[in-house]
Structure formats: structure tokens, C-alpha cells
């Protein structure tokens, strides 16, 4: 047998046994200029709610939890590519329903104890048990035994088995192409049982994980101090000795302090009122890193309410909105959107141009649909700037085709409530509540916000659009687990979103850009400052130059 044949035979065998084991190539080359040491200061307006990985679910604590804890899977810094985390490698069975993870050896929790497969099982049981009240419990729905956990009839996931201290097997009740992404969510972080039991509900204030940083001080309402985990299992990381988070700082105050050299990154970003000023100042502009984010701002059209039950009306509205003008209103901090998926998301359809802005045609379409004089409706919007201004622009665009929309500007919680109540909000502008992906996969933009599962009381599918055929197509796409067939899977997803645009339950308006401002002394590649998963920055890999 020639060498070539051997190789072919081995790979054929490998494919028949299992889909993939991760190659080491999918990793990140740290910056050769990086210098260890130093402390950086990050500011936030609001208190950090919790650092419990089963509970924390806002963009402020997400990146902090990522640096304190690890899961089986992780992302290559600055990208949306998966890489192994606490798992050194894994195998997927040919039917896509069994995942076997081989853990790294010698990984220690911050309390000094070695992490084992038992901890992985405990952590997954903890996040899915109803008593934990985890907002992320639903992500684990594909693990066998999840339903019994959710209804309280089991205390442990039957699908998760410890094979030996370094191997854990997870069986799914259905093939789930997103499962590795789920294993990279903070909710899947591995936590030590003894610390969770010691602190109880206060574990979120006393987090103990395996991550690059450990929490060493937390003065409520003032600041948190993360210090370097000297025993971190990724050699040479992190670079920084510590990260200080100061809370209770208005974004405008944070910017002033950055200009004086007291702050390294204002966590809440550049305040809108100062945006133009900063970007027009060449020195300050150099300190701003621009990137995309997995976010789409959209208007929902409630398909259960007249006249939005008529698809022609929804298409007409799509053609009436001047997206360029709305982008201008927010100082160009976004890109006009053509479809639900943001451009940096796999599965995005590049060649689709979206509905053209054409008020005359929109008016004609309305007339054809039986509304020659337009109609009256309501537009719900969150009451913080710039959203009411954007709503006014939408209102004017609608008025141009004869649609009189009354603006209902309410607090965030009230808009969310109205959106999830049947036949209440005919139109909602999503600003301030817009969907940001939990993980970089097209499926994450479907289920809760466009699928039938979300079109329920209290759900997030505010257009109440439910298309059973698309649900089936989505399920089919997510059952394609084979990495070699990912192209096929993404094509299916692209098709789902194109069909959604045909039915037009949304007006996709824009994809917001991310602007991270940093002090001049901060080093590391720009990708780290617009990391799609760690907002504002991946703390493990950045460094200071002085």
C-alpha cells in the first residue's frame, strides 16, 4: 500500500468512525510583542449583576465570566471559529447524537483542586436544574434527559455520563449542529461543586473557575478586581497582572477620564453625544477600533394584526423605510441591513439586495392591497436615545405612503411585555432590545425571534410569524452535524432567511458597528477589541505597552 493509499484509508476509517477530532491548527498565535504585567481599568455605568456563569446573561458580565471560567469549547480570539477549551479533543458519532469529550489533564480550579469529568457533569446538571433559575437552561434542550430535568422528575441529566475522570460522554435526543457552540456558551462553564455549595446563592459574588483570571476583590457599587491566575492552563496567558472594573461611571465621565489617562477602556462605549467629536479628532480616532457585531436592528410587523396579516402590506412597509437616513441619524454607526442575519454571520446571503427604498411603489402596493389611503397603526419603541428619534424617522417614512403611526415610547421592560402579549403591538422598533447572537451560528437568529417557538405569550418573536415549513427546514439544517457538510447546512439556513424576507415579517433596518475606544498604551491586535464573543475585549490576550 502506498503512502497515499494509507492516508486515504485512514481518513476514510476516521470519517466512518467519527466526524472529527479537532486539529491543533485552529488556534491563535499570540502577539510576539506582548509583554506580561500591568493593570488596566475598565468602567461601567451599572453594577455587575453576578459572575455566576449559570445566571449571568448581559453583555457586561459575559466577557468577565469568560475570563474567570472555561467551558469544554471556546472560540479562537477575535473570530467566530470554535476551538477546544477544557476539552482537548472530542469525537462525534456518525449519527450526530453522541459527543465524547477528552479533557485536558492537570487543569486546576482557582481553589487549587484539579478539574475532572465529574465537574463537567455537575455543572451541566446545575445549569439545567430548575432551582438554579438559569436563563440559559433552554440551550441544553437537545441533551437526553433534559425534559426530565426541566419538569423536576430527575436531578441529573441522563444523557451525560462520566466514562473516566478525563472523559465525558454526552448523548443528545436529536442531532444538533449547534451543540459545540452551546458547549462554548458561558452557561456551560465548569464550576467546582464544593464552592457552589459553600456559597449557595452568593456564588455569583464569589466565583471560582478555571479561567485566566480570578476574582480577588469586589466592593459592591464601586469596583471589582480580577487578578492573573498564575496556574492558568494556557501557557503564558494572561498577559495582564490584573483588570480593574470601576462601576457607577457615566459613559461621558468615563470618556473624560480616558482622555486624562485614568481609564483604559470605557465599557459602555463612546457616548453618542461625543461620537462625532472623538471621530473628528485624529489622535482620538486612532484609539478607536471599529468592527462588526452579530446584531440586527429591525422593525417587527405583527402578522396577527390587521393590516399586517397581509403580506403585500408588509412588503410595502419594507420598501417605505429609508434605512440610509436612519443610519445617518446615528452618525453612521451602522450599516443598512437587507436581511435578518448580520453580514459577519455564517449563512448571510451576500447577493441578496433586500427591498429597495421606493416610496412610490410602496404606496402603489398599499393601494393594491386595499389601503389606497393608508391606515392608522402604532409603533412601540424603547424610550432611550436614539430610539425615539429613529422612531420619528420611521414615522415620517410611513407618513409618506399614507400610514399614520402613533409612537409609543416606553421603558424597555414595558416594550418587551407588549411585544410578547398577543395582538398588542402592531409594530416595534427593536432598538435597545435588538437581537445580539448568543453564538455565531445562523440558527441563533431563528428559533426565539422568527420561529414558531418564539411566537408565544412572553416570547421574543414580536412579529408572531410562525411558518411550520420553515421550522421543518430549520430543524433539517440543524440535524446536519458532519463538518464536511457545513456548506450544505449554511445554504439551507440562507434559504430559510430568504423565504422569511419573501414573507416580510420584519423590516431589517441596520447592523450596528462596534466602536471600542482604548487608551494609547493598550496593545494586542485590533481583532481582540472587537471580539465577536467577548465584549468589549478579550481580557486574556490584550496587554499594555508601558
Amino acid at each position: 500500500m502506498s503512502l497515499m493509499n494509507t492516508l486515504l484509508a485512514t481518513s476514510a476509517l476516521a470519517v466512518s468512525l467519527s466526524f472529527a477530532s479537532l486539529a491543533a491548527a485552529q488556534d491563535y498565535t499570540p502577539d510576539p510583542n506582548a509583554k506580561p504585567g500591568g493593570n488596566i481599568v475598565i468602567t461601567y455605568k451599572d453594577d455587575v449583576a453576578t459572575l455566576d456563569p449559570a445566571i449571568g446573561y448581559d453583555w457586561q458580565n459575559w466577557s468577565m465570566i469568560k475570563s474567570i471560567f472555561d467551558g469544554l469549547m471556546d472560540y479562537v480570539p477575535g473570530t467566530t471559529e470554535l476551538r477546544p477549551g477544557l476539552a482537548e479533543s472530542y469525537e462525534i458519532s456518525p449519527d450526530g447524537k453522541t459527543y465524547t469529550f477528552h479533557l485536558r489533564k492537570g487543569v486546576k480550579f482557582h481553589n487549587g483542586r484539579e478539574m475532572t469529568a465529574e465537574d463537567v457533569k455537575y455543572s451541566l446538571d446545575r445549569v439545567t436544574t430548575p432551582a438554579t433559575q438559569s436563563p440559559g437552561a433552554g440551550f441544553f434542550g437537545s441533551i437526553a434527559g433534559y425534559d426530565a430535568m426541566a419538569d423536576g422528575s430527575a436531578t441529573s441529566l441522563s444523557g451525560v455520563t462520566v466514562l473516566d475522570p478525563a472523559t465525558v460522554k454526552i448523548e443528545l435526543s436529536r442531532p444538533d449542529a449547534t451543540f459545540l457552540h452551546v458547549m462554548a456558551l458561558n452557561f456551560s462553564s465548569v464550576v467546582p461543586k464544593e464552592e457552589v455549595e459553600k456559597w449557595g446563592a452568593d456564588f455569583g459574588k464569589h466565583p471560582v473557575g478555571t479561567g485566566a483570571f480570578k476574582l480577588s476583590d469586589w466592593t459592591i457599587g464601586q469596583k471589582l478586581l480580577l487578578t492573573k491566575n498564575a496556574d492558568y492552563w494556557r501557557a503564558g496567558l494572561p498577559y495582564l497582572d490584573s483588570v480593574t472594573f470601576e462601576v457607577g461611571q457615566e459613559p461621558i465621565v468615563a470618556l473624560l477620564r480616558l482622555q486624562k489617562g485614568e481609564v483604559d477602556i470605557p465599557g459602555d462605549g463612546i457616548p453618542p453625544a461625543k461620537f462625532t467629536e472623538v471621530m473628528n479628532n485624529p489622535d482620538e480616532k486612532k484609539q478607536v477600533v471599529v468592527g462588526g457585531q452579530l446584531q440586527t436592528g429591525y422593525i417587527t410587523l405583527n402578522v396577527e394584526m390587521k393590516p399586517f396579516d397581509n403580506v403585500e402590506v408588509r412588503r410595502a412597509i419594507n420598501m417605505a423605510i429609508n434605512k440610509d437616513r436612519i443610519v445617518q441619524m446615528i452618525n453612521g454607526r451602522a450599516t443598512p441591513a437587507t436581511q435578518p442575519l448580520p453580514p459577519s454571520m455564517p449563512g448571510y446571503t451576500k447577493e441578496y439586495a433586500g427591498y429597495a427604498f421606493d416610496p412610490a411603489k410602496a404606496k402603489a402596493m398599499l393601494a393594491e392591497a386595499g389601503y389606497p389611503d393608508g391606515f392608522q397603526t402604532q409603533l412601540y419603541v424603547m424610550n432611550t436615545d436614539p430610539n425615539p428619534r429613529i422612531a420619528q424617522a420611521i414615522q415620517q417614512d410611513l407618513a409618506a405612503i399614507g400610514v399614520k403611526a402613533e409612537i409609543k415610547a416606553l421603558a424597555q421592560a414595558n416594550v418587551i411585555e407588549a411585544g410578547g402579549t398577543p395582538k398588542t403591538a402592531p409594530m416595534i422598533w427593536s432598538g435597545g432590545m435588538a437581537w445580539i447572537a448568543d453564538f455565531p451560528d445562523p440558527s441563533n437568529f431563528y428559533g426565539p425571534i422568527l420561529g414558531c417557538a418564539g411566537a408565544v405569550e412572553g416570547g421574543w418573536n414580536w412579529s408572531w410569524y410562525c411558518n411550520k415549513d420553515l421550522d421543518a427546514e430549520a430543524a433539517k439544517a440543524d440535524s446536519i452535524v458532519d463538518p464536511a457538510k457545513q456548506g450544505e447546512r449554511l445554504a439551507l439556513w440562507s434559504d430559510v432567511y430568504m423565504k422569511i424576507m419573501q414573507d416580510a415579517p420584519w423590516v431589517p433596518v441596520f447592523n450596528e458597528n462596534r466602536y471600542t475606544m482604548k487608551s494609547a498604551r493598550m496593545g494586542g491586535s485590533d481583532d481582540l477589541y472587537v471580539d465577536p464573543v467577548s465584549i468589549p475585549v478579550n481580557y486574556d490576550y490584550v496587554y499594555v505597552t508601558e
Partner: protein, 306 residues
Amino acid sequence: MLAYVFRRLVQSALILLGVSFITFLLLYVLPADPVRQIAGRSATPETVENIRRQLGLDQPFIVQYGRYLAGLFHGDMGRSYLQKTEVAALIMARLPATLLLMLGAIVAELAIGLSLGVLAAVRRGGALDQSLMIASFVAVSAPQFVVGLLLLYVFAVKLGWFPIGGYGHLSNLVLPAMTLGIMGSGWYSRMMRSSMIDVLRSDYIRTARAKGLGRARVLALHAMPNAILPIIAMIGIDIGIFMSGIVVVESVFGWPGIGQLAWQAIQRVDIPIIMGVTLVSACAIVLGNLLADLVTPFIDPRIKLR
């Protein structure tokens, strides 16, 4: 006197009970579901229902309120919905900062208000008096958000005399205390002015001057102590006014007090924290008023408490 205090304390307790009932009711009828905030956007309906049941939010209003009160009588203010931390711990961690800020504000408003009031009274009717009284009018009506940002910009950013927000040093306290105190100082300067004018007209001042005492000495030792007394009694009432101001001022200056806590909790519909902060501030207001009433007879013996 003791009977009076006892009666007032019972009244205060009833007022607090009323405050707790009304706040709880308002939060109950609010068209915003705290469970949605906790469950987040990816939660399944079962997760939402499970959380609602565990927090007892599926119970009727009267049961929820009863449970809250029962907890309160055992000294338990509950746990934050989102942070899971005990509300009492969160408030206690932040209360010292708020009390310090109030103390600073009282010092600031008295220092500014009283001195300007005396000045205006002495120069009664003159240009200085009139401009001071216009200034005091502006001070009383200026929005604290604007005053705070203005002070921050001028004295911290441009002049660099004080740090830009923050907490921990006396220099951090000056600007927020001034912001909070400026409104009160407008008030106090007007009261001090009229109080001084009354005193300066009285016979004993004329006697003091007639026997040859210097003008400054008469002002400082004879007139001012008598003019200040009725004003001291007002400080208790200020506590209530400050309580409404701290939410804004603490947010602007990043002062880690209970006002900031309340503001964040309101945005997140974190009911146990909103209830806790409301009750603590109501306590402060009730006690402040009680204190003001108790102090009055010592200052002016003509007033008797019944």
C-alpha cells in the same frame, strides 16, 4: 414629651406600612414582568414559569405582599431577583456613601446659604442683596443634572481642581455635595436673610450697638445665633429633599450610594431592591421630620409638643 414621641413613632410606623403597601401595589400593577428580565430572551416558557413559581410571583397580590411583610418583620428584605444577593447587604454596602453625601450637602448648603443670607441682610435693598436673591432663585430652580454636569466640567475637567467623579477621598465629595447643597443654599440664603432682618430690627441689637459694640461683633455674637436657630430646625426636612436628589446626583458623579442602586434596579425591574431602597428612604424622611419637630421646642421654648 414622651407620650408625644411615642405617638409620633406609632404614626411613623403606620406611614411606613402605607408606603410599603402603595409601592408594592404600584410595582405589582406595573406592565413589566420581572420574570422576563430574569429569564432573559432565550428562555423557554417552562423556564419562565419555573422562575415565576419559585419567586412566588404566580401568587395573588395579597399573598405576595403578606409574604414580603412577614419577611420584613423578621428583618429579611429578600434577595435581588437578578443579583441573587440579599437586599439588606446591598443597601448596607451603599448606605454609608449616601449618608456621607448628605452630610456633605448639609455642610455645603449651610455654609453657602447662611453666609450669603447674612451678607444680603446686611446690605438689604442694595445691588448685592438683589443679585444674591436672584442667584438664590436660580439655585433653587436649577435642575441638579445640569448643575452637576456643569460643576464637573468646569472644576474637574477644565480646572482640574477635583477628580472626575469617583469615591474614597474628601476631594471626591466636594462636587457632588455642592450639587446637592446648592439647591438648599438658595432656600437657606432667603430664610437667613429674612430671619436676620427680623433680628437686626429688634431692640436688643439696637441696645448692643448703642452701648458701643462693633458692627461685626454684634452681627457675629448677638444677631446670628438667634437668626440661625429657626433654620437649624429645617435640616431634618432637608433629608427628605435630599433623598429625591441623590438618585440624580449619585448617577452623575458615580457616587456609590443607594440612589444609584435604586436607579439601576428600576431599569431592571428588580422589585426587592426597589422596595428596599424606597422603605429605607421613607424611614429617613419620617425620622428627619420627627427630628425636626423634636428639636423645635429646644430652639424656641414658645413651641410645646403635644
